[in-house]
């Protein structure tokens, strides 16, 4: 009886020891696991913070690039204009008019904004026109007119090599902003929708602003005269759809003109 009892106790003792070893190991494992998890959480936090910082940096850099691009493009446009003694505000107004036309025509916000940035470059080719022609007071003779008209081709040649979407767009604008809906424009006598919408829009925006501004060789036209001319040129010089958009949203154009007046 005593022996039997002793044997059981021995077994239980062994079990107790085994249990202790096992539980100790389990405790050690759980502690280790907790530590790994805590370290991992901390690491994850650091990683995510760093990721966000880097992302913010990239975003800022991207904005910097975009802003620089905008400024360069705008300055290029202003250079083109300054060569022909026009004001910086002309460029700004053409930009705004172009965006309004683009949006109402149905281009999306991104493309319209791009056109706003690209349209000021329409006359960049003028930098290559000799001063004697460019700033001649009074009317051009036939030879001078020919030289002057090359500015569309020249502008296109300057910009066409670029792979940047904005400069590509500007190349199109420079090339086609003197084409006319009726096919009597230059340099390629394109007709109707053969003329890219960017060219058609900038043509209208540029002419509207040029007519309303005074130049060395001419007085500013009053609105009545401009509107009459636009109606006559609907489907001749200009895309009829764009002329309709212009008159349907006239107050928007006039508001831009008012906010960007030339200071003389």
């Amino acid at each position: 009886m005593t022996n039997h009892e002793n044997k059981l106790i021995t077994e239980i003792e062994a079990l107790k020891l085994d249990f202790e070893t096992t539980t100790n190991k389990l405790i050690k494992d759980v502690r280790r696991q907790d530590k790994i998890m805590a370290r991992s959480d901390k690491r994850q936090q650091l990683e995510y913070d760093e990721l966000q910082n880097k992302l913010e940096e990239v975003k800022n850099l991207q904005k910097e690039i975009e802003d620089t691009q905008k400024e360069v493009v705008f300055t290029m446009g202003a250079i083109g204009e300054s060569r022909s003694k026009e004001t910086g505000n002309h460029v700004k107004r053409v930009a705004q008019y172009s965006k309004i036309l683009a949006l109402h025509y149905g281009l999306d916000e991104r493309e319209s904004e791009m056109l706003k940035q690209a349209s000021p470059m329409h006359d960049i080719g003028k930098v290559a026109i000799p001063d004697s022609v460019l700033n001649k007071p009074g009317r051009f003779n036939e030879e001078e007119r020919k030289v002057m008209d090359t500015h569309a081709q020249l502008g296109y040649d300057m910009l066409k090599m670029s792979d940047r979407p904005l400069l590509k767009m500007a190349a199109t604008v420079a090339y086609e902003h003197h084409e006319k809906w009726n096919g009597k424009g230059y340099p390629n006598k394109l007709k109707g929708e053969e003329i890219h919408i960017y060219g058609r829009i900038t043509a209208l925006a540029d002419v509207f602003d040029a007519l309303g501004s005074s130049r060395v060789y001419k007085e500013a036209w009053d609105d009545e005269r401009i509107f009459k001319m636009f109606k006559e040129e609907r489907g001749e010089h200009f895309d009829p759809t764009l002329i309709d958009i212009f008159f349907d949203n006239l107050e928007e154009f006039l508001a831009v003109r008012d906010s960007l007046k030339d200071i003389n």
């Binding site: 280790r32 530590k35 370290r39 991992s40 901390k42």
Partner: protein, 125 residues
């Protein structure tokens, strides 16, 4: 005994286990999709090595610049295994970390704390 060489990948470190020289090197990042599967040959190799093929002294050079949590667990397991053979073998572990790599340093400190019987040197790069 054959050496074990595993080339570095984007997610896994370079592994060189040289039985003749008693040299083991694990260098690089460690965040494989299945960590335990990836290190299985390493663990097996060590078992075979320490069961009758070990050199008088074995040196482990570990330089893990990035690791996921299951890799941490794996290293604990690896050190468990080393500890098991530590009494009969001379084992030295060099845990190298970059000065700016706080996670790697902390991991090294954890190993030192948990494995008092192992010789673990923390070496700043």
């Amino acid at each position: 005994m054959e050496n074990l060489i595993i080339e570095e990948t984007k997610y896994t470190p370079q592994i060189e286990m040289n039985a003749k020289e008693g040299n083991i090197k694990i260098v690089g990042k460690s965040y494989p999709e299945n960590t335990f599967e990836f290190y299985e040959p390493v663990m097996k190799w060590l078992e075979v090595y320490f069961n009758g093929n070990a050199k008088k002294q074995t040196i482990l050079n570990l330089e893990i610049i990035y690791f996921n949590s299951s890799s941490s667990k794996l290293f604990f397991d690896l050190f468990d295994l080393l500890e098991e053979f530590n009494s009969k073998n001379l084992i030295m572990i060099n845990w190298t970390y970059d000065e700016e790599n706080e996670s790697a340093l902390e991991a090294g400190e954890d190993f030192k704390e948990d494995f008092e019987n192992l010789t673990i040197n923390l070496i700043v790069k």
